[in-house]
């Protein structure tokens, strides 16, 4: 892989995300989801009381753990869809508009073209997730109590891998089709599969990063009683799957006619 072309392509991808506001869209949505989790958790009893219309609703007092579970639920749903919408055309659109021809008739390996896009979106994902995590942590501390930092960081690492997997699948789909709509459709299918497979098979469930966000595993992590192997396994497998999908995207794109 030629590092000399990776750097300008990576830089171009970042500029593109910046100039087309994709970077800011991701930051704002992630931050909103991060902050809204503890705030809505805090307000839920009052909201239910005001909507109850005289019906007596008794809720257990909301805790920092509830806010954390709400945050994890938020971050495993909408952000994947945001990533699909942002990245589904990253290769497909370049092929359909002809800019891929302009770039790939220069001495640019096709794998570098794909990897540069993946790395740029990874950076956007990382920045957005860090912002969301910082917002969630700060508001949880202000409204409830501080979460154990180690467990919170570990869960965010799990989220990063989980979302990386969605991103890698989207980029693979984008390399497969010339239409961004088709790529988005396949990526959405992949997202649904990632959500559904763990409910069908417990072995699959234990292997995917989403297992980390189950309430019982979160409780174990917060208590510091979660077995290290059970945490590392889905992280390593998720990372491996994401890298495998990117390699597959490089191979598929390498054999296509632009």
């Amino acid at each position: 892989m030629s590092v000399s072309t990776l750097q300008p392509l990576f830089k171009k991808e970042l500029y593109e995300q910046y100039r087309t506001y994709r970077f800011f869209i991701a930051l704002v949505i992630f931050l909103f989801l991060g902050i809204s989790a503890p705030v809505i958790t805090k307000l839920t009893p009052d909201l239910l009381k005001s909507l109850g219309g005289g019906i007596q609703i008794t809720l257990p007092p909301q805790t920092a753990t509830d806010a954390l579970n709400s945050y994890l639920k938020n971050m495993t749903q909408l952000p994947s869809l945001v990533l699909i919408l942002l990245a589904m055309g990253c290769i497909a659109d370049e092929r359909s508009r002809g800019t891929a021809v302009t770039v790939l008739t220069k001495p640019v390996p096709r794998s570098v073209f794909v990897v540069a896009k993946f790395l740029a979106y990874e950076l956007t994902l990382l920045a957005s997730l860090l912002l969301a995590a910082a917002g969630a942590y700060y508001y949880t501390k202000q409204l409830f109590e501080a979460l154990p930092l180690g467990a919170f960081l570990l869960l965010n690492l799990g989220l990063f891998i989980f979302l990386t997997l969605s991103l890698a699948f989207t980029i693979f789909a984008s390399a497969l089709f010339r239409s961004s709509i088709a790529a988005g459709g396949l990526a959405f299918g992949g997202f649904l599969a990632l959500a559904l497979f763990p409910t069908l098979n417990s072995a699959v469930a234990q292997a995917l990063p989403s297992v980390l966000f189950r309430a019982e595993r979160v409780a174990q992590l917060l208590a510091g009683t979660a077995p290290l192997g059970d945490i590392l396994k889905p992280i390593v497998i998720g990372l491996g799957l994401a890298l495998g999908l990117i390699m597959l995207a490089c191979i598929v794109f390498g054999h296509q006619e632009i």
Binding site: T5, T105, K106
Partner: protein, 319 residues
């Protein structure tokens, strides 16, 4: 297999099949180094397919090709670092400015920042885009995009410049400027371009090849092709109906056909020298009121039309 240094492009039996369509049927072609070479043909002739194969956008179904001695299908030595390319409909990133785009392309070729800056400014001036260099490409006109496309194709000072219909979309002034620019590259780079604007190809090309339905019909220096294929012709315009010329000249040994349109007749001749000597005498003896007598110079258009007609007739005979 080693390719001689004086050969810029060589194709040996290059074939490309798309599904049931054979777009290129075993192309054998040699383009000399430092020449300006025109690839002619009607729509669907296989011009763009040839160019896409040479620039590695698509893979050949069969056959081999070399550009500057480098095989197009090889991985070890990438031919793309030694060529410049402009597609038929060049596409750019609309959010970039012209300067940024050329800088980005320069980076892809591994040019240092100093060289990039220098080449970028030189090329922007060369294609007349210095004033628009800081504007976003999204706001460029079609002609400006075409000029930017030519600038990006030249940024690495390519040994071979491959251009797919580079002038078709330009206005007459733009065409003239770009043709002058391409002609100015003679001796520095090999220019290989496809076009269907025959007059433009005629103006600057040393050598041309004519493709039709994926088959190479002819390849030779432009002048040689004209001499070989263009039918000598004399145009005669009378004050009266020119039909009289059909009977007057039809039996002459040097006349192949007389095509009449109102007062004008086009006399296709087999021996131009003999016709030049005998035809004026015939007209004078017949006391015809002559308005115009003109020996038409053969054009590339004549060559092209004759070649295509010949091939169509041949393929009609065989089917």
């Amino acid at each position: 297999m080693s390719i001689p240094e004086e050969v810029a492009i060589r194709c040996d039996g290059l074939r490309k099949i798309y599904g049931r369509l054979e777009a290129l049927k075993g192309l054998d072609l040699t383009v000399p180094m430092h020449s300006i070479f025109g690839l002619l043909g009607p729509n669907g002739a296989g011009k763009s397919t040839t160019i896409k194969l040479l620039t590695r956008q698509i893979a050949p179904t069969a056959g081999r090709a070399w550009v500057v001695g480098v095989p197009i299908s090889g991985q070890a030595a990438d031919v793309r670092s030694r060529i410049g390319y402009l597609s038929e409909q060049p596409a750019f990133y609309p959010w970039m400015t012209g300067r940024e785009f050329l800088d980005f392309i320069g980076e892809l070729f591994g040019l240092s920042s100093g060289v990039r800056r220098q080449r970028r400014d030189e090329l922007l001036q060369l294609v007349g885009l210095t004033g628009a260099a800081r504007r976003k490409i999204g706001g460029y006109s079609h002609g400006m995009r075409q000029r930017l496309g030519i600038a990006q194709a030249l940024i690495n000072q390519p040994e071979v410049l491959i251009l797919d219909e580079p002038i078709s979309a330009l206005d007459p002034i733009g065409r003239k400027e770009i043709l002058e620019l391409l002609a100015g590259l003679k001796g520095q780079s090999t220019v290989f371009f496809s076009s269907h604007i025959l007059a433009d190809v005629d103006r600057i090309c040393d050598e041309i090849a004519v493709l039709h339905r994926g088959v190479l019909l002819a390849k030779a220096p432009t002048q040689a092709l004209k001499e070989q294929y263009a039918q000598p012709m004399i145009t005669i315009e009378l004050e009266t109906d020119a039909n009289v010329l059909v009977s007057l000249l039809g039996q002459e040994s040097y006349v192949q056909a007389v095509v009449v349109k109102g007062a004008e007749a086009r006399v296709l001749v087999t021996d131009l020298a003999l016709a030049k000597r005998c035809l004026p005498e015939c007209l004078v003896n017949a006391h015809l009121p002559l308005l115009r007598y003109e020996v038409a110079l053969p054009t590339l258009e004549d060559v092209f039309v004759r070649l295509i007609e010949k091939e169509t007739a041949l393929s009609g005979e065989t089917t």
